[in-house]
Amino acid sequence: MEVSIWIFLLLSVLKVAVVTVILLTAVAYTVLLERKLVGRIQNRWGPSRVGPFGMMQPLADGLKLFLKEDLLPTNVYRPLYILAPLIALACALISISVIPFGKELYVKRVDLFQIADVNIGLLVILGITSIGVYGIALSGWSSNNKYSLLGALRASAQLISYELALGLSVVGVVLRTGSLRLRDIVDIQATHGLLSWNVFGGLQFVAFFIYLMAAYAETNRAPFDLPEAESELTAGYHTEYSSMKFAMFFMAEYANMITVGCVATLLFLGGWSSPFGDLIPAWGGPVVQALLPVFWFVSKVFFFLFLYIWVRGTLPRFRYDQLMGFGWKFLLPLAIANIIATSLWLAFRAA
């Protein structure tokens, strides 16, 4: 039965709209979560005035940013100055499109829990994040400001350096799966619950560590937030941006955090599979059965966001030479060693 192209288009547009709205809401509440948690880590309350427990704070912040005057500094290179935040946000939002959120569930032959099932999903994500660098690089250059330029240069150098470690850290997972499709990568981890997750049963804990470190650096988060180190660079690459353009960079950063959390969940923590495997018998109707994997997926991503914020609230910033040394002299050799060890182990097991 061939499904009509119009139904396919309609459902796809619907999926894109729903995922984008959920992602942007998640971004807004991740910001709130961060302010709350960092507040508690520093022994203060964080935002608590707007709405119950400060839950309406993201709405107020969004309104504030939206109504602020959009300043265009003199002597900026206007086309790129305007294009840069768009690139940053677009790349951050696009990469979520290949991520599967739950078990395959077809309605009119359209997969409900994934926007696009791409055969090379993992590479698509790596490719889009590598394009996202331009948003930061161009914003810093076009702003015509020394702090912006320094921030952008730092960011470019940092992103290129850590992309290698990031790319190599996932090779072990791909070797184990034999596929670059994200659903295949999850399926192979879904057999025995917690024990068959790549980070435990797949023996990829070293790769997990490398991925985590490289992902912090790729998203410009503490302890690798040198591109926007406020004590030396004012605000780094987005110093000259105000109003919604600033908000775009902000949203891009948090959307990237969420995407990275999703990818880490898929690659190392078994995606939407339950940690208990088949120990808990299936219960509830088909709706519960469809939504339970999504619940596991979201809780794992939440765990990553929590970890992100925890790390930010705990660790001091790296010095720049330490950052480069850590990436090139420690993470990269470790990632290559992990690939060799994984290959040897797989070959030994296959023999």
């Binding site: 090379i120 590479l123 490719g127 660098v133 240069l153 992103l159």
Partner: protein
């Protein structure tokens, strides 16, 4: 469907390439080159070379062009100065390019029957197929290329080294 995509991205590729030549500012040229590289990746994708497409985006658009823009930003290269260009370029260059185009068109039209056609869309390549091509059938060229790149890196290090 595939043909429409091919036309869109083929056109984008040519437009990017022309823009690369016409722009006066190096950073705009670099950005046009990124457009060219990325549209090429989509064309590879249409021809079924998924991995090549992804590698094109990650390596060329993502890494090499970032280095280009990095250098342009670092040197703060200004708008290029217009010159009249060399006479030789006008006298030899344009007829030469036209002749080359003519020869290529002639050869392709003449050999049309002997050339295989490429099909757009509808391929799937597994990592298994890909690795058996890269690491078994074409192992030697693949490794020799890596050695070539290594030699280039060593050369760059040797040139950049300060004399003591």
């Amino acid at each position: 469907m595939y043909l429409v995509l091919f036309l869109i991205f083929g056109g984008l590729c040519v437009a990017g390439a022309l823009n690369l030549l016409l722009q006066h500012h190096p950073i705009n040229s670099a950005l046009s080159l990124i457009v060219v590289m990325t549209s090429l990746a989509v064309l590879y994708l249409l021809l079924g070379a998924e991995f090549l497409a992804a590698a094109q985006v990650i390596v060329y658009s993502g890494a090499i062009m970032v280095l280009f823009t990095f250098v342009i930003m670092l040197l703060n290269a200004g708008v290029e100065e217009r010159t009249h260009g060399s006479k030789a370029a006008y006298i030899v260059g344009f007829p030469g390019a036209a002749a080359l185009l003519g020869i290529l068109v002639y050869i392709f039209l003449k050999q049309k029957d002997h050339l295989g056609g490429a099909k757009l869309g509808g391929y799937l390549v597994t990592t298994h197929d890909l690795s058996s091509v890269l690491f078994r059938d074409l192992l030697l060229p693949f490794e020799v290329t890596s050695v070539l790149i290594l030699v280039a890196i060593l050369g760059a290090v040797a040139l950049a080294r300060k004399e003591h």
